[in-house]
Each structure stands twice: as structure tokens, then as C-alpha cells.
Symmetry: C2
């Protein structure tokens, strides 16, 4: 295993020249931000944060995060206005305004993707005004503890997560953040020990680096239902792993189990997903024999961290709605860039007209159950008692066709994400079965469809 | 309600002339049995048992049960030989040998169906050698306690059970026996009180006339899972209601609840099931939109009390087998006379090629799950983790067609009833959908099919 890790580190650790180049660009940006603050008479200063600041960036990553720290007593409106003015001056015309909790600016400088983020410099991380205010504290906490040797271990763990598809706290991924990676290494002190420990995790595992909670039951109650709980050392009310979905948690644990059994470069550098040709897509769909519905529409103008949760919420609403109509989902997924896609795959898309309505068990008063159904025009048979002693009627099903049930749900839009509902109201298209190949001219959509149809854990590809 | 009960009693209680006629035939048969015993030098004597003996027979019933009581010390083989010899002599050529636990003879005398059943005269009913030995004890217990007034109440209760389709302890029906009816009246002392009490029964209700068990928990443990528990006063280890299925229990309780709400002659004399024409059957099947399979074969040569449990066991095996193959049953039923029929109605009879195999949850070692599926030629996609954190593969389904899955199960015959399996091995036919009308030339089968398609509690017909 050591051989493998050495080879991985060699491949992912930035070269000296690359480090110098990043440092040069970062220093230049900090100087420009501080100069802009002076020129605009703004009481703020720049700080390099994130993996670039901590020496935990991978060669493949080209991100520089510069935070612009304002004094705590500045009104929020002022911070946003002045922060943006400084960032815009630094970024120039190429800067693009983004909006999370605060507005911020992204741009590109010397081949790096640069974020310029205004925030408050808050003395106590437990009393922050906005999520971004926590970042400088994370920076300090990790910076004071992470030796260059440990930074190498972080690189290994990050690459392992990249390779197994579990890296990234953004809501599109719902995986492990860079900061979470760093904390895991600070806790377990090596890549190998982290993997070994994680291979034994069960849902609800707790990591409390500073021993902030003497009572585990309290932690469990506080973060109930979250698969992994890592107490943030700078803010003990926060679970650093809150974004990690059950699916990604389980994927990571299985990856660790498999890696402990047989370590392999494939965990760090998996084969890419093979792009399927249109003919391949058609052939696979025919073989599967399912009914695939692909709801496609123009994405609403919101950032992915807002869009993806809304798409998933809409997906859940459609899955639930169709299930209530009797159509069980085999699998479903969502994807978005300019276009949003909700993929729904049903085993059965046509049901018989007759449907069973089961009434209360023997001990319970039947109320109006019998009378309502007796008089109903939808009645086929009943009332009778089934073998478990429950009253039953056989009645006419309201909708026997899944496509029509789906179309109806898309008109009603109950429990959809708000912006997604708005976008769907403006129009959508349902591509059914092999019609999905029409979307595959877009290479990114083709990659999504290919990945869906050949879904496989990356290290088994 | 009293008006109704009076009218019912008038209709079901045998007239004086009918009583005299039955007494005459019964006395004659007893005399002939006793004379045959003398002539064949057999140490036995006749006893009239059942409802005819207790004055609890309905006008519609034409049964006379004569038991031939042998001394306890006679070897079983002797009893069977000598008992049959006596019975045969009495019945003559028209007698038909039947076999339950013992062999016995059925015949017809003067318009009555006569059973001539050899049994042991056992002093202690708890130490009987065969189930039939208990009957003389029941006869004595009820005979000593049932006044003519209470006998009228029994008639009402029996007719109520007839009307609601819950009367009959034979395994075709799985309902309430005549003796059970009599005990219920001895316990509740009137029809009305029995119905009122039963309307409040829940599964697991206990009736212990003689207070044989001071501890109800003991009774519950002894007869676990049985919907109704009525301790036999002559043998406290026995539940008189053991034959009552959950379905019939619930039907009876619902009938009592409905009757308490609104008493009506329909509970005693329901409308008959309307026989459907072939065109009606075809029309209803088309409207239901289901896939109906009717497995028909020549019945094995066994009495209904052995055939029906075997048919139901076979039905269960087919339902389970098809469910395991992915085909959920909407409803199913069995029926038999010379022909046996197993009716299976599926909502869906064709499934897509792809099928999900879910592996162990996160905490459990995957064992060979992944390796077995990875190498399998049936693999479509996987392994991947589903949203609940379980490993999953998508594989090729072994059988996508329900009819072929059914045919395969009929070849394998796993967990079928023994004689039914033998009969099926000799040949069967699957009538699918409207082909079932070919069977409807037989009026009894037509009645069964009509009842199935328009199933409804009798008092709602």
C-alpha cells in the first residue's frame, strides 16, 4: 500500500514551480485588494483562505479564495456595497457577480479561478453573522495545526475522495468538503488511519476533535439523522459533515472497506465514464425494458447550490406522486447546467383498471368507508374481507397511464422547488424512452445519461 | 328486531311433521345399527348425534349422524373392520365409504343424508383416540344444558351464519361449526346477546364457558394466532373455533356490527349470487384490465376436507412463487368438485428485463455480494449505493413473463399439497383471461366465477 500512496502523492502534489506560481498570483491579488480598500477608503483587509492557504490543494485544483474581512460593527448593507466595490475593482470587467448568502465576485486570473468574498471578521466563531464569516476561523484553526507532513496526508485523502466520487460539499455533490478532509487527518493523523477508521463507520458516527461534548447522547440528539457527525472545533453547534448525504457516506465507507481489502490506484484515479453513442443508449434502453421519462426544461437563473436542492425536491415530489398513483420508481436522478433534467425510470407504466382499496382492521369502526364505496360509480367488487381480516373494495383506478399521471403532476406542481416550479410553468418537454438521444448531442448531457445507464462505483469501472 | 327474529324462526324451524319424520328415520336407523351389531356379534351400540339429536337442525338441513360406539379396549384395526362391516350392512349397496381419520359410510335414507361413523366410547374426552370420539361427549354436554327455548336461539344464530356465509367447520368453508353455535348460545343465552357480544370481538377473543383457565395469558399462549378461542368444555386442550379462518371471523364480526346498526332479513336470507353470462364475464374481465390465470385439473380422489387445504397450500405456493418472481397477486381463490380450479389474478403479467438486487446495509460485511454480481452475465449496472446507503446491482430478470413463471412453478411443484401435486403432474390446463368462459358451461364453475368477479358480502348483495 505504501508504494501506491507514494505514487499517488507524486502525481497529485503540486511541484515547487506550481506552488511558487500560485503564491505569486495570490500575493498579487491580496496586494490589489488591500490597495483597492485604501483607494476606496474601505476599512477592510484581504486574507488568503481555503486549500491554497493551507498547502492542501491538489495539482488538479486551480482555486484561489480571497476573503475581504470587514469590522464586525459595519452594517450588513454597507459590507455588501463596499465589499462588492472592492472586489469589482480588483476583478475588473471579467468579474462575475454571484450570490450565496452574500453577493461575491468570481473571476479568472493567470489560469486560476478566483473567488473574492466579502465577510465579517468576527472574534467568536460561534457568533458569526453569515456562514462565510466562519472561513477565516477554519483557516486559522487548520493553519496552526497542520504540519507539511500532515498536509501530504490530506492530499491523499482528498484524492481518494475525488476518485471515489465523494469529494465536494457543494449541494450538487453532497460530499466531503476540503475542511472536513483536513479535520479527519488532524484527528486520525494519517491517510491510512483515517481510511481504516472510516471502514468501520456506521451511520451516526461521531468525531469530536476537541472533546467539546462529554455526552455522546447529546450530540446524537443535536444532529439526529445525519450519517456522519464531525463537530466543528471553531463552532461546536455545527456539524462539518452536515452536507454529506447517506449515499455518499455509504459510498465512502464501502470504498474504505474495499481499499483495506485490496489497495489499488483505481480508487484514486478511476477510469472515466465511457460516453455512450446514441445507438448504445437505444440498445441499453431496449434491453432494460423500462419506461424512461426525461423531463427537460430551461434552468431557472439561480446558482447550483440553490438549484440542485430544488431539483431533488421536485424529483422527490414526482416520485411520491407517481408512487401514490401506483407507479413505483425503479431509479431516478437529476442534472443541470443551462438545461435542467429530471430523469424518471419506471418498471411499469401501465396499470390495470381495477385497484384495491383496503379499509380499517377488524377492531376499528368502519365509519363511512362502506357507504362511500358502495355508492361510488368506481366500484368493481366489494365489500369483502381479505385474508388478514380487513375490509376491501375493488374500485376503478383514476389513472392507468404513468405518462398522463406525470403530466398531471407537472401541471399541479405540488411540493416542487419554488424556482423549478416557476421554470416548469414556462414550459418543459418530456422525452420518453429513446427520444432521450435527442438530448445527447450535448456532450455533458450525454455524459450524465451514460453515467446513469452504466452506473457503477468508480473503482469498479 | 324482534319482529324480524320471529319471522326468521318461523321460516327456519322444522314443523312438527318434519320433526316426527326425522325422528322416525333416526329411530329406524339406530335400531338397524343395533340389530346389525347383534347379528355380526359386534360389541357396539348406536347413538344419534349432531343437530338432529339436539333439536338444533334447520329445515334446510337434512343430515342424520349416527355414531357406532365401540368399547375403548378394542384394537383400532378391529374397530375399523367391524365398524365398517356394521355400517355397510345398514347402508346396503348405496353406502359410500369415506375416509377422514377413520373410514366411515355415507348413504341416503328417506331424503336424509346419513353418516354412519364408528368411534370409541371414551370415558374421559381428554383421552380420546380419534377426533370423532369427542362427538358423543359434545352430544351429552349440549343435550344436558340446551332447553327448547335456547335451541330456538341456536337456530337463529345458525341461520345468521348461513346467511352471512360463515357457517360450516368443513375445511372448504373454514367457518363456525354447529357445536360452536350451540356453545355460543349456552354462553350468551340468546341470539341477540351473542350478536351484540360478537360485534365487539377482536382477534384473539376468548370464551371459556366452564372457567377452565383462571389465567387468560395461558389461553392466549396455547392458542396463539387463532382469531377466536372457545375452550371445549369436554376437552380443555381444544379450541372449538380452531377451524375459523381470520377472513370468516372478520366477516362474522362485521356482520354482527352491521346487524346491530340496522337489522334486516338480508342477513339471514341474502340474495343469491347472480350467474353471469359468458358475455358478462368477458365484459367484466375486459373492464378490470387484469391478467387472469385459471389452472384447471382433474381433482385427486380425496374428500373435500383433505382436498381444500391442499388446494389452498398450492395456491399459497403459487402466490409466493410468483411474488418472488416479481408478480404481485391482486386476488386469488380455489374451488373444487370433480374438477379443481386455482384462480390467480395479477395486476401485471409482464415485467421489464432489469431488476434491482439490493445488498446488505452499511454496517454489514458485503461478503461475496459484489464479486458474485460483478462476474455475473446478468449484470446491467452496479454496484452503486442507493439513497438509503445499501449496495445495489441492476441485473437481468430471470423471467419477465408471468405465464411462463406460472408454468415453471407448476412443473417444479415446490410446497404444493401432496395429492394436488400428483394430480397436476398428470396434466392441467391454464385458461387465460376470457378463455375461462369455456369452463362456465359447468353451472357450478360459473357460479364460482360469478361470485369471484362480483365478490360482495352477502348482506350487501
Amino acid at each position: 500500500m505504501d508504494e501506491i500512496l507514494k505514487a499517488v502523492l507524486k502525481r497529485v502534489k503540486p511541484r515547487e514551480a506550481e506552488r511558487k506560481r500560485l503564491k505569486k498570483v495570490a500575493d498579487m491579488l491580496i496586494e490589489r485588494v488591500n490597495r483597492a480598500c485604501d483607494e476606496l477608503n474601505v476599512p477592510a483587509r484581504a486574507m488568503l483562505v481555503g486549500s491554497a492557504a493551507r498547502g492542501t490543494w491538489l495539482r488538479s485544483e486551480r482555486d484561489i479564495d480571497i476573503f475581504i474581512l470587514f469590522p464586525e460593527d459595519l452594517p450588513r448593507e454597507e459590507l455588501e456595497k463596499k465589499g462588492l466595490a472592492v472586489a469589482r475593482k480588483v476583478a475588473g470587467k471579467r468579474g462575475k457577480e454571484q450570490f450565496a448568502e452574500h453577493p461575491y465576485i468570481t473571476t479568472e486570473v493567470g489560469g486560476f479561478e478566483v473567488d473574492l468574498v466579502p465577510c465579517y471578521e468576527v472574534a467568536d466563531a460561534g457568533k458569526i453573522k453569515s456562514a462565510v464569516d466562519r472561513t477565516p476561523h477554519h483557516n486559522r484553526y487548520v493553519g496552526e495545526r497542520l504540519t507539511p507532513e500532515l498536509a501530504d496526508e490530506v492530499l491523499l485523502l482528498k484524492q481518494f475522495m475525488f476518485g471515489t466520487g465523494t469529494y465536494g460539499a457543494e449541494l450538487k455533490v453532497q460530499g466531503f468538503s476540503g475542511y472536513l478532509c483536513e479535520l479527519l487527518i488532524l484527528h486520525y493523523l494519517s491517510f491510512k488511519e483515517a481510511i481504516n477508521a472510516a471502514s468501520k463507520w456506521a451511520p451516526g458516527s461521531i468525531i469530536d476533535l476537541e472533546g467539546s461534548y462529554p455526552d455522546q447522547a447529546e450530540v446524537k440528539a443535536l444532529f439526529e439523522g445525519q450519517p456522519l457527525i464531525v463537530i466543528d472545533p471553531v463552532d461546536t453547534n455545527r456539524n462539518v459533515a452536515a452536507a454529506v448525504s447517506m449515499q455518499n457516506f455509504a459510498t465512502f465507507v464501502r470504498a474504505c472497506q474495499d481499499f483495506m481489502r485490496e489497495s489499488n490506484m483505481r480508487f484514486f484515479f478511476p477510469r472515466r465514464v465511457k460516453l455512450l453513442s446514441k445507438r448504445d443508449v437505444e440498445r441499453i434502453l431496449r434491453r432494460r425494458g423500462t419506461r424512461l421519462f426525461c423531463v427537460a426544461f430551461k434552468s431557472p437563473d439561480i446558482v447550483p447550490d440553490i438549484l440542485y436542492p430544488q431539483l431533488r425536491k421536485t424529483e422527490r415530489a414526482l416520485v411520491t406522486g407517481l408512487a401514490r398513483a401506483g407507479f413505483e420508481m425503479l431509479r431516478s436522478d437529476v442534472w443541470a447546467n443551462d438545461k435542467s433534467i429530471i430523469l424518471l425510470e419506471l418498471a411499469i407504466a401501465e396499470l390495470p383498471m381495477v385497484q384495491v382499496h383496503v379499509g380499517p382492521p377488524i377492531k376499528v369502526d368502519v365509519g363511512d368507508f362502506v357507504q362511500t364505496h358502495l355508492r361510488s360509480k368506481r366500484k368493481f367488487a366489494g365489500p369483502f374481507l381479505d385474508s388478514s381480516g380487513r375490509l376491501a373494495f375493488e374500485v376503478k383506478r383514476r389513472q392507468t397511464d404513468a405518462r398522463r399521471a406525470l403530466e398531471q403532476a407537472l401541471v399541479e406542481r405540488t411540493a416542487f422547488g419554488r424556482h423549478v416550479a416557476g421554470a416548469l410553468a414556462k414550459g418543459y418537454k418530456i422525452h420518453e424512452g429513446r427520444q432521450i438521444t435527442k438530448l445527447c448531442d450535448d456532450k455533458k448531457i450525454c455524459r450524465f445519461v451514460s453515467e446513469y445507464l452504466t452506473r457503477c462505483l468508480p473503482w469498479y469501472r
